[in-house]
Subunit: 190 residues, 2 copies
DNA sequence: ATGGGCATGTAAGGAGTTACATGATTCA
DNA sequence: TGAATCATGTAACTCCTTACATGCCCAT
């Protein structure tokens, strides 16, 4: 016997956080699905990503639930620009206030290193080296984005929070880079 | 028209990494499904977790594919102890040598902070404070595990890699803790 | 005129979790 | 003797990605 709430079916259950990133992005400015997708890629991607195949259905659901509205469009217009409704804002705020949880990390690199004793030291060193290169690129990208925010945007409540999350990325990546260096020294037997 | 490789169906496709953590754990010692589940919880959980509902079917699949074998059991014995086969070891090694990818991070905390301008500063401060407490506990737990490894196990190739992954957790958590401190100062306007 | 980026989607299915059922063993 | 933990498993479902289809717009 299963006691499952069947009314909660579909893609818009309590646990689906895609709708909150959609609503959140629409508090910054009115956007199309494509714009939201691009905004995620260039701002939250390192701690939260979404694929178009997930985004568009959720956006359609938000519209049906009255959390967003779509601007009147002529027959010619292809681009659909959405804005957040008062109800959408209310829903977003309620979620933002709730204690966050469910941090998920899945690092294939660490999983492979954990079992690294089964292959040669050279194999493991190579994995770490590759990661090192990637991290250096990421740190460069974050720094560039940071400069961009400071120059293009006025200091505001919004930008303050953007910088805080960016600084998380910078700080953690920097720590990872240091770890790479130390791990390589251990593996090289220095 | 869809050109999808239908032969790859089921739960044991190329992208399913659960089988590799199963195989990897069995290189440490022979284990039951339950043992593997516990081992994951106490060793790789902070960078790779698995639920029992995922683990048992994959273990059954590994058995069917000849990657693991199950020890002969009397009718009385309930516990099924598995060991890795030569073929299983070969498959694991091939995977370990391939360049890792697909690092996935989903941080609800950072997502909420990114949109933090929509709620009060106090709400955001509270989220960071909670995270700080959690981090301190985690760092304590990692340190305890580190001591445990150093005392219970002889220094070996295996333990060397365990310590490297553990040190990753320590280093990154420490950096996160520092970030918490800085972020709180920014939000408090110090 | 055509190739690339803009833009909106859908189909199929794999990955993974949750919520159970079921029964043995251990120990206070 | 009864609760906790050990132990194995399945059903149902959600989440998410991949791999397409489709067509517009714009610059070379």
């Amino acid at each position: 016997m299963y006691l499952i709430d069947i009314s909660n079916r579909g893609i818009m259950t309590e646990r689906n956080r895609t709708k909150y990133i959609v609503l959140g992005m629409l508090t910054i400015r009115d956007m199309s699905g494509y714009d939201i997708s691009k905004a995620i890629e260039t701002s939250t991607n390192y701690f939260w990503s979404e694929s178009p195949g997930q985004l568009y259905p959720v956006l359609a659901c938000c519209l049906k639930e009255g959390l967003v509205r779509c601007k009147e469009q002529s027959t010619k217009r292809v681009k659909k620009v959405y804005s957040i409704t008062a109800e959408g804002k209310k829903k977003l705020k309620a979620w933002l206030k709730k204690q966050p949880q469910n941090t998920l990390v899945r690092s294939e690199l660490l999983l492979k290193l954990f079992f690294g004793g089964n292959v040669s030291t050279a194999d493991n060193i190579e994995h770490i080296r590759q990661h090192q290169i990637q991290l250096e690129q990421e740190i460069g990208a974050y720094s560039a984005i940071r400069e961009g925010i400071l120059q293009k945007h006025k200091a505001s409540s919004e930008t303050k929070y953007w910088l805080i999350t960016l600084d998380y990325g910078l700080k953690v990546s920097q720590a990872e880079l240091e770890w790479c260096h130390e791990a390589l020294q251990v593996l090289k037997g220095i």
